[in-house]
Amino acid sequence: MFEILEKKSLNPTVTLMKINAPRVAKKAEPGQFIILRTDSEGERIPLTIADYDRSAGTVTIIFQIVGGTTEKLNHMNEGDCLHDFVGPLGRATETEGLKKVAVVGGGVGCAIAYPVAKKLHELGVEVHSIVGFRNKDLVILENEFRNASSKFVLMSDDGTAGEKGLVTDALKKLIDSGEKYDRVITIGPLIMMKFVCRLTKEYEIPTVASMNPIMIDGTGMCGGCRLTVGGETKFACVDGPEFDGHLIDFDEAMARGASYREFERKAHEDACNLFKEVK
């Protein structure tokens, strides 16, 4: 059913796949996501729609190998079929009225940020992309970002790619140099988004953060993806995944994200061992 038509390794831990999913491709918009299962006993995991082709009926996903399910997914190949693939879920990124936007991505969050940058660029919005990685081996989608941005800043923690430093340093520099953004869109690790939002709050720039809590159904049925925004409980899968970054309770989100850490560590080890045995 949901055949993997193309598989490409972007770096040692990040993989791109193009999936045959005509119904999803027909309705997909940037900012939305899908939920997949690799096999009939698999876990449901959410991944952002990185790209889509309505006429070919394909949807592109980009994922980082972080645990058991992404490990299994990465062992699947062109011609294999995913057991389940449902979407598009969540709300699309709001683009109306925007003239100049800073897109701030970190790590694999860049895979989620890229389609947003691309869409804005296509709409004629001036896009400044600031992307950060731990080191040069982890850099993904550099050319794609360059093509979708009128300004592109690459940062790395150790200085092996682009400038040495954090994305918040780069963003601050741009703002201080006089760049006026109608909006900042940030996607990446929670801790990074928290500090981006703290910075833009000082400058009073409206900021949207894309949240990735643990999810199951993705339709509003379980409440597992809930988070607090402006003192109210929201479900990321239906009310989000993008929220006003100045209102999100990031500390709570970080605690919730760690709910199953021990289980995940073991599941990943098991998956790795399994594939070692197979080899």
């Binding site: 119904r23 999803v24 027909k26 309705k27 299962r37 006993e41 698999g42 876990e43 449901r44 058991g68 399910t69 057991h83 389940d84 693939f85 449902v86 979407g87 598009p88 879920l89 199951i216 159904d217 993705g218 339709t219 509003g220 049925m221 379980c222 409440g223 597992g224 809930r226 988070l227 607090t228 409980t233 239906v238 709570e252 605690a255 919730r256 760690a258 709910s259 199953y260 289980f263 995940e264 599941a267």
Partner: protein, 461 residues
């Protein structure tokens, strides 16, 4: 000569201290002798009071008479004239407030065990070797059914039997609705649900899982571009409510839906499941309905010490009597007149306990129901590392918000007439999506009624 015993034949069950450690079915079902003996308790009343208590009017004395004769297939045929899911309803229907509450034998002693007999007949039929079903002659009309819970399955089945080309669209990866993701294996084995679904497929029904109507495709698109002449909405009431008290988003706090979905749909109770679950060592379940009992009994089976807190008294518990009885036998604690006001946290952001306020019952109000009112300054804390909120659900707003001109109640229920017709021509609805959380049999009945109405609508178009 009827069997004049005052009590029902007892249902064989797994012993409480065995079953509270496994997920296999609790009730084991009658033997043939027990079934026939029980059937002989029926007096075959002329005015059939039991039938008036059945939401789908199964001809109860007629099927029971066949059981007494040992003609189980004939009994099955009689039941399936009115019900699409006998093996399910025989297990989960609240017979004590429906058919059995009206049974004349219940005036002195226990009523006839109608539910257990229904279950026996259905299981006996399902154990028979498959006979190839005859596919109905297609009539060339297409109908879409949204949701594969009991309402959707019943509607799809009846339409398929009339020759309609029916496609069921289901958001999850597995069909069955609450029967698959909510009600646990130990009350309703999933093989039974899957068997019903296989039966529909054999009739020619297409089931498209992984399709969220309103996201993947809209009702308007289905009707405009995909040739569906009519749509039945059986999307249930799956949106969980929370109490809005401090600490509700701590780690270790679940909605009952999430907890049960992880266990039933994702099989998290199996050691090799890819989906994690955390029932803790001390679990507190908030609520008193069937859903709360199911969550409590699951948590118990995962090894937790379980306490149900409920703000009224035992007399007001909305759960089926049998489920409460089973829960108690399995060692689940109940704290009545207890209302949580806050969930406390460990330093690491996990649940540490539940602060509760003591309640008392007021004088009954106009509706006759006594209200729980807080006792001033009477607070206490229950230690817990897992809290499961089971205080109700409401219909998901997704379909309403993506379907032009579909009217709903303020609380989200879709407005439909007694045949299921909504404010949109050709669009019907039924089950929990219309009534709010109710029962399997009412959802199934609504699906069947709508199927008849859809047939009439299309034939007269």
């Amino acid at each position: 000569m009827p069997n004049m015993s005052l009590v029902k034949n007892e249902m064989p069950v797994q012993a409480p201290d065995v079953r509270n450690k496994n997920f296999s079915e609790v009730a084991l079902g009658y033997t043939e002798e027990q079934a026939i003996d029980e059937a002989k308790r029926c007096l075959n009343c002329k005015n059939k009071p039991c039938v008036t208590g059945c939401p789908v009017q199964i001809d109860i004395p007629a099927f029971i008479a066949k059981v007494a004769e040992g003609d189980f297939e004939e009994a099955y045929k009689i039941i399936t004239k009115s019900s699409s899911l006998p093996a399910v309803c025989g297990r989960v229907c609240p017979q004590e407030t429906q058919c059995e509450s009206k049974c004349v034998r219940g005036k002195k002693g226990e009523p006839v065990a109608i539910g257990r007999l229904e279950r026996y007949v259905a299981d006996r039929h399902n154990a028979l070797a498959e006979t190839a079903v005859e596919k109905p002659v297609p009539n060339g009309h297409k109908v879409a059914v949204i949701g594969s819970g009991p309402s959707g399955l019943a509607c799809a089945g009846d339409l398929a039997k009339k020759g309609y080309d029916v496609t069921v669209f289901e958001a999850l990866h597995l069909a069955g609705g609450v029967l698959s993701y909510g009600i646990p294996e130990f009350r309703l084995p999933k093989t039974i649900v899957q068997k019903e679904i296989e039966g529909l497929k054999a009739l020619g029904v297409t089931i498209e899982t992984n399709t969220v109507v309103g996201k993947t495709v809209s009702i308007d698109e289905l009707m405009k571009y995909e040739g569906f002449e009519s749509v039945f909405i059986g999307s249930g009431a799956g949106l969980p409510r929370f109490m809005k008290i401090p600490g509700e988003n701590l780690n270790g706090v679940y909605s009952a839906n999430e907890f049960l979905t992880r266990i039933n749909l994702m099989k998290a109770y199996k050691p090799d499941s890819a989906t994690p679950i955390n029932a803790g060592t001390k679990a507190v379940i908030v609520g008193g309905g069937n859903v709360a009992m199911d969550a409590a009994r699951c948590a118990k089976r995962l090894g937790a010490d379980v306490t149900i807190v409920y703000r009224r008294t035992e007399n007001e518990l909305p759960a089926r009597a049998e489920e409460v009885e089973h829960a108690k036998e399995e060692g689940i604690n109940f704290r009545f007149l207890t209302n949580p006001t806050e969930i406390t946290a460990t330093e690491k952001g996990w649940v540490k306990g539940v602060i509760c306020q003591q309640m008392e019952l007021s004088e009954p109000d106009a509706s006759g129901r006594a209200k729980p009112v807080p006792v001033k300054d009477a607070y206490f804390e229950i230690e817990a590392d897992c809290v499961i909120m089971s205080i109700g659900t409401s219909p998901n707003p997704l379909i309403k918000s993506t379907t032009d001109g579909l009217d709903t109640q303020k609380w989200g229920g879709i407005i439909a007439d007694e045949n299921g017709l909504t404010s949109r021509e050709g669009v019907y609805a039924g089950g929990d999506a219309v009534t709010g959380a109710a029962t399997v049999i009412l959802a199934m009945g609504a699906g069947k009624k709508a199927a008849a109405a859809i047939d009439e609508y299309i034939q007269n178009k």
